[in-house]
């Protein structure tokens, strides 16, 4: 059984002090608006009538994981230990890696290393038949929803890093609408099922306000 490390003492979220103001490079993403316009994402996240909640959480977790994996995969050329010495979402937020198992104490690693750790960790959970069962006769574990919450909290950080550090590259590659749509979908799902604390989402609050103005 997978154990989620939970102690506040070693929390991996670390606000950076002494920051006064963002610069234009870091703020570009706040004006992002383009989306694919393919449908109503608010409705798409709702639990279908009489559907099992855990099953709905599971299939969406896999989908969001795949999307973030794709989006990050297109900018790995620019996300290097040299350009991104630490996993950050702008100059104010840094993240240290710890999974509670092989890395018990949070460590400072570069962004690409952090993302690699994170993706491998998530993949391991998704492949764990005791947590994400593939047979109908196997139940979800009792702590399934807290595991999902931890996954979403950390996946959110990848979006944070992409938006703050690599948004111009995303735009140049013609992926802005795709990134925005996936993030918007991700955000609506988080809100619908209360999967991530508000304070964890502060780095992208301006973007969220901007993207969620429209009804879809």
């Amino acid at each position: 059984m997978f154990k989620i490390f939970n102690s506040d003492k070693n929390k991996t979220f670390k606000p950076k002090k002494g920051f006064s103001k963002g610069t234009k490079r870091h703020d570009l993403h706040k004006h992002a608006k383009a989306t694919l316009g393919s449908g109503n994402l608010r409705l798409a996240v709702s639990l279908p009538e009489r559907e099992d909640l855990n099953e709905w959480l599971a299939v969406n977790t896999v989908d969001f994981f795949n999307q973030i994996n794709l989006l990050y995969g297109s900018i790995t050329e620019f996300c290097t230990p040299k350009t991104c010495e630490v996993m950050s979402a702008g100059p104010k937020y840094e993240y240290l890696w710890a999974d509670g198992e092989s890395v018990k104490k949070p460590i400072k690693v570069s962004a690409p290393e952090y993302v690699e750790f994170l993706m491998t960790w998530v993949q391991g959970i998704l492949d764990d038949e005791n947590i994400f069962p593939s047979r109908v006769d196997v139940q979800f574990p009792k702590n399934f929803q807290s595991i999902v919450k931890n996954i979403f909290k950390r996946l959110f950080r990848v979006y944070g890093h992409i938006y703050y550090s690599h948004f111009t590259k995303i735009v140049s590659l013609g992926e802005e609408a795709h990134l925005n749509t996936c993030f918007k979908h991700f955000y609506f799902f988080i809100v619908e099922f209360n999967l991530v604390d508000k304070k964890e989402m502060l780095p992208l609050q301006d973007l969220i306000d901007n993207l969620t103005k429209s009804s879809t």
Binding site: T23, K24, T120, K169, G174, E176
Partner: protein, 542 residues
């Protein structure tokens, strides 16, 4: 949409400029702040000047964009389909005046299937999810096997296609065509009974997989080899079924374009199912002018005319065709025997091209070989392209040797004619009302007793298929990589979005306790050979 995005992009650039102005107006706040500011500005400018992306990055971005667009298209489609199924059930239960307890049972059944369906969406299928039983077909790009799904012990036909061969032969559009139409043919009312059901499709690094319904009766080519010719009654049945099958495909806005006896399968009750949609093209698929290009090399040949004059006896033609047909069925080149002339030219064509193919098959069923068959592809090509001159002679020869009723002859000639005067051009009803089909109950055709009923000894009986030797795969058996994160490369771009799950496949999937035989309910008297098939075709052999 594109204009909108461009405006957004321009808007973004304007905002950048505005920010630059704001930036320059602010006073310096101290040495430390100034240093930090300069650093950021420098880095920003550096990024802006960098226009070049590596090939890997461009390919990864392309794959990302296509995948995400595909995902959202599929997402909204599947949500709508789910809602449609629920509304359909409620409406049906209302019509049937079910009691509330009965309704609850039905709702729970649907709910269970829906849950299993979304579960299946996150489960990665691989070739290792199936146990191979026997090869039942082989083609240019891969093979078809009878397989058993390990999780539920159900039997399927697995079509496995080599990606590198498909790319090398520019066949990626074809394989996509097949997956798309098979997926489209399933809807709220269940699968199309005239089309082989697709249950799953997926891929790995080297192969594409289509997991389809196993149709145990073999194909029409095999039956024609076995019986040589059919009676007019048998022919009427099979042509009528083929007409309805093609009509159901045309209604989906697809044209098959490769109708021939080996693509008409026979199910366990003896009815027809159409398969092999690789050449299929629809409104949403790019047109593939493959056949015109393949046969273009024959255009200039004129030497063939004298050879055409050589009379050939029916038995010689008959033997020649029997000798050729299996070779042709498994070759890369194939044969144009069943292809309409407008498909062989670069002119446009439409659904009528499939009716020409039906006419060729009808002729073959009654006479013993297709009308334009020859010793060479070149000769066949010329006979088809000059059908106005060649067909009358062919019909005369056929009538001299076979007892063709006037209705049969007329129908064949109305199939084998110009597209715009071809029967069926004005709708399938035009075909259905032809005198040859007098007495056919079109609405209950699929419940009618077929002329040939396959004799099957078990659910894994493959006796109606050719025997294939197992090839020793030269590729080393790779360790199971299904659980690793694999980077998408340009090699994968043509196959993005290939994965598919059929809702009806959930009926007995993934460990459900109520597992049934692959055949469902079997009428064992029909299925297990209590009838002498040959009796029903007593008049078939000349």
């Amino acid at each position: 949409m594109n204009v909108e995005r461009k405006l957004e992009s321009l808007s973004l650039q304007q905002q950048q400029q505005e920010e630059q102005q704001d930036e320059s107006e602010q006073p310096n706040q101290g040495v430390e702040d100034e240093e930090e500011e300069e650093y950021d500005e420098e880095e920003y400018e550096e990024e802006e000047e960098d226009i070049n992306f590596s090939k890997e990055t461009l390919e990864a971005a392309m794959a990302t964009k296509v995948s995400i667009e595909q995902y959202y298209t599929s997402l909204f489609k599947s949500l709508k389909e789910r809602d449609d199924r629920r509304c359909f059930l409620e409406k049906k239960m209302e019509e049937l005046n079910l009691r509330e307890e009965q309704k609850s049972v039905k709702r729970r059944e649907l709910d269970k299937k829906e849950t299993e369906y979304i579960k299946s969406r996150r489960i990665r299928l691989t070739g290792h999810s199936f146990e191979s039983i026997r090869i039942i077909g082989r083609g240019a790009f891969g093979e078809v096997r009878l397989v058993k799904m390990k999780k539920n012990n159900k039997f399927f036909a697995m079509k496995k296609l080599d990606k590198s061969k498909m790319i090398e032969k520019h066949q990626t559009i074809h394989v996509r065509s097949e997956r798309d139409i098979l997926a489209d043919s399933n809807n709220i009312h269940g699968s199309n009974p005239w089309i082989v059901s697709l249950y799953y499709s997926f891929q790995d690094a080297n192969f594409l997989y289509l997991i389809m319904e196993y149709v145990p009766g073999g194909d029409m080519m095999t039956q024609l080899i076995k019986y040589d010719t059919f009676t007019e009654d048998a022919t009427r049945f099979y042509i009528a079924e083929t007409v309805l099958a093609l009509h159901s495909i045309h209604k989906l806005s697809y044209i098959h374009r490769d109708i021939k006896p080996d693509n008409l399968l026979i199910d366990q009750k003896g009815h027809i199912k159409v398969s092999d949609f690789g050449l299929c093209t629809g409104l949403q698929t790019n047109r593939v002018p493959t056949l015109a290009e393949i046969y273009k090399k024959y255009e200039g040949d004129n030497n063939i005319r004298e050879e055409d004059q050589t009379p050939q006896s029916r038995s010689a033609r008959f033997d020649s065709w029997k000798r050729q047909r299996r070779v042709l069925a498994y070759s890369n080149v194939g044969t144009p025997d069943y292809t309409a002339p407008e498909v062989l030219m670069k002119d446009g064509y439409s659904a009528e091209c499939d009716w020409w193919s039906v006419g060729v098959i009808m002729f073959e069923m009654l006479v013993g070989y297709p009308p334009f068959c020859s010793e060479s592809i070149r000769e066949t090509y010329h006979k088809i392209m000059n059908w106005k001159q060649t067909l009358p002679k062919i019909m005369e020869e056929a009538k001299a040797e076979v007892n063709l009723s006037p209705e049969a002859q007329d129908l064949i000639e109305r199939f084998l004619t110009d597209p715009m005067t071809r029967i069926g051009f004005n709708g399938v009803e035009e075909i259905q009302s032809h005198p040859f089909f007098k007495g056919v109950d079109w609405r209950r055709l699929r419940e009618t007793r077929p002329p040939i009923i396959p004799q099957l000894s078990s659910p894994t009986d493959t006796s109606n298929f050719d025997h294939y030797e197992e090839e020793q795969q030269p590729e080393p058996m790779q360790p199971v990589q299904s659980k690793s994160r694999r980077k998408i490369t340009s090699f994968d771009i043509p196959f993005i979005g290939y994965t598919y799950r059929n809702f009806d496949a959930m009926r007995d999937a993934f460990g459900s306790v109520n597992s049934r035989d692959a055949f469902g309910s079997i009428n064992s008297r029909e299925a297990f050979g209590s009838i002498n098939n040959r009796d029903s075709l007593q008049g078939a052999n000349m």
